[in-house]
Amino acid sequence: MADIRTAATAAETDPTTAGWNGARSEPYGPRPRRIVSRRNIVVYGTLFVVAVYYLLPLYVMVVTSLKGMPEIRFGNIFAPPVEITFEPWVKAWAEACTGLNCDGLSRGFWNSVRITVPSVIASIAIASINGYALANWRFKGADTFFTILIIGAFIPYQVMLYPIVILLREMGLYGSIWGLVMVHSIFGMPILTLLFRNYFSSIPVELFKAARVDGAGFWGIYFKIMLPMSLPIFVVALIIQVTGIWNDFLFGVVYGRPDTYPMTVQLNNIVNSVQGVREYNVNMAATLLTGLVPLIIYFISGKLFVRGIAAGAVKG
């Protein structure tokens, strides 16, 4: 990049290096100093300021959730808590009211777990098999269905909301956890199928051919050859799905009932319920709690999360 050019100007303006250079008579110059060039100040300065902006909400969430209400009322939202209290967390988890019930976020949390686990398994299983069939066993018409699927990913969910209500009602799944599992499997299909199709397509086709000569069939190749080779992409899919399904609000509120609402819906109902005094510390503790699962996944998965975004999006 422009390292050398800017570094050269830095050497000219920096008196220490210039003097050192003059003292020597050799025809070679010194290695230019790079750490404190003007360019670096601009780059790091900008990044630092932006980083503060990005971190601020998280910081405010944390400090607010650890303060008592009097301190919030008279203090500054950026000030660290004078007296740390975990009571808002306890209250958010077990006692906060939604207007319908008063057992806090815990109910939503367990609902979310019960929704997320089977949804993730089902959607990844279906999509990986779809992707495998599309990559290696193209049958006539397969690409047409896939195209519809991908176009479907761009259609606003609102268009399909009501037909699915009818479908779930007919199947007796409306309002149940399993109904939500089905909806998540359906709407996870386009992006995951694309992800797996692209990944399996990138595996050398000769491997597939060799396995066919060796007499392995559709399932044999999938389980014995493709699956063991594809663990990273399964982890990527896992990350996409766990965060995606955990963060869902729309499907939860449309296809759930108060006793099956996922955590996000429960959270919104707690914070935005109109009754009673607003307890900002409890609200922030609840918000943090809801954000904790995806945040933990994000920080653990690190590069794989980025890869998931890139894999799911760039090739799309």
Partner: protein, 361 residues
């Protein structure tokens, strides 16, 4: 009896015709090489024989059985791929036995076959390793072993040596030849490398545009190419070509600008070449430079433009009748650029092609 018969096989992907009503018979124990530039359909043909691609029309027989619509595993073939295609998560032994396990062979038999293949290919010490821990040459041996354990009549090779460096390629080439002599299987071998084709093949099928141009022994293909394409494709450095026409007085004479070559020694395939626009092809190794040139039926004095030393011999670039002429010369008598030298050749060893349709005359 033929081992593999390909009858009127066509293959199209949509509007693109990759194979055009192709016929080929491969004898038992024969080593047949499919040779051609990329996109000529040679790999496609091999994949059709293997059953990895469905043909659009035509029939394929292997060992007297019509296998046109059989699964690859039921065709009695083993296949070796360019990228080795070893299953990365399995050990070498696992790779070798995967197909046998799928065929539900008894354990003892699997172990015996794996051991035999491993000893033939000398990969016994590698059996417990993973493909990632092997070198390129070792991987290719394992890939060959995977075909070997299947105990089949026909081996299919899809550019098996293309991913190896030049030295290894030479070594494995010999090894494949040795294997063929030892086992006596039918082998169908796809390559774009003419050295491999020349050294390995009993017969070579030169392909272009989904059609077999010439099917013959390596020597015949080298010395009597049936058309302009085969002549240009085979041989390195490539054949020299001169455009001109044929005039007949008492004997046919090739005329191009100020050169004229007496063709009375040339063995024309058909009658009546006179008056035609033709191309005269001369292999660089059939042109003699310096000593001995004056004994040739046709001689000329030419100016040396460039020399390319290649170690064992040297390539000399000159100009003859306005066209570039390369000559293969021995290294110890190389002229300098700018020098004028005498070259000579025997028209009897030349090839003459029709300028319009490219067929040999």
């Amino acid at each position: 009896m033929s081992s593999v018969i390909v009858r009127d096989v066509s293959l199209s992907f949509g509007a693109v015709e990759v194979l055009k009503s192709l016929n080929l018979e491969i004898g038992k124990g024969e080593f047949l090489v499919l040779l051609g530039p990329s996109g000529c359909g040679k790999s496609t043909l091999l994949n059709c024989i293997a059953g990895l691609l469905d043909v659009t029309a035509g029939q394929i027989h292997i060992n007297g059985k019509n296998v046109t619509w059989e699964e690859p595993k039921d065709r009695g073939i083993g296949m070796v791929f360019q990228s080795y295609a070893l299953y990365p998560q399995m050990s070498v032994a696992g790779n070798l036995s995967f197909g046998l396990k799928n065929a539900r062979l008894p354990k003892a038999e699997i172990a015996e076959r794996v051991a035999r293949a491993a000893s033939i290919l000398q990969i016994e010490p590698l059996l417990a390793r993973r493909p990632a821990e092997l070198s390129g040459g070792q991987r290719q041996r394992v890939a060959i072993g995977r075909a070997l354990v299947r105990d089949v009549e026909v081996f299919l090779f899809d550019e098996p040596l293309s991913n190896l460096d030049a030295k290894l390629r030479g070594e494995l080439r010999v090894e494949i030849k040795r294997l063929h002599q030892k086992l006596g299987n039918t082998m169908v071998y796809v390559t774009h490398d003419q050295i491999e084709a020349m050294t390995l093949a009993d017969r070579i099928a030169v392909m272009k545009g989904g059609v077999i141009q010439q099917l013959d022994t390596p020597q015949e293909i080298y010395s009597r190419p049936v058309n302009r394409f085969v002549a240009g494709f085979i041989g390195s450095p490539g054949m020299n070509f001169f455009e001109g026409s044929i005039e007949t007085n008492s004997a046919p004479v090739f005329k191009s600008g100020d050169i004229s070559v007496d063709l009375s020694r040339y063995d024309f395939a058909g009658p009546g070449p006179e008056g035609r626009q033709v191309e005269l092809g001369l292999r660089p190794e059939h042109v003699v430079l310096g000593h001995g040139a004056d004994e040739m039926p046709v001689t000329a004095e030419v100016e040396v433009e460039i020399i390319e030393p290649m170690g064992s011999d040297t390539l000399v670039w000159t100009r003859y009748g306005g066209e570039s002429l390369t000559v293969r010369a021995e290294t110890d008598k190389v002229p300098r650029p700018g020098e004028r030298v005498l070259v000579g050749f025997d028209p009897g060893r030349a090839s003459i092609f029709d300028a319009t349709h490219g067929e040999r005359l």
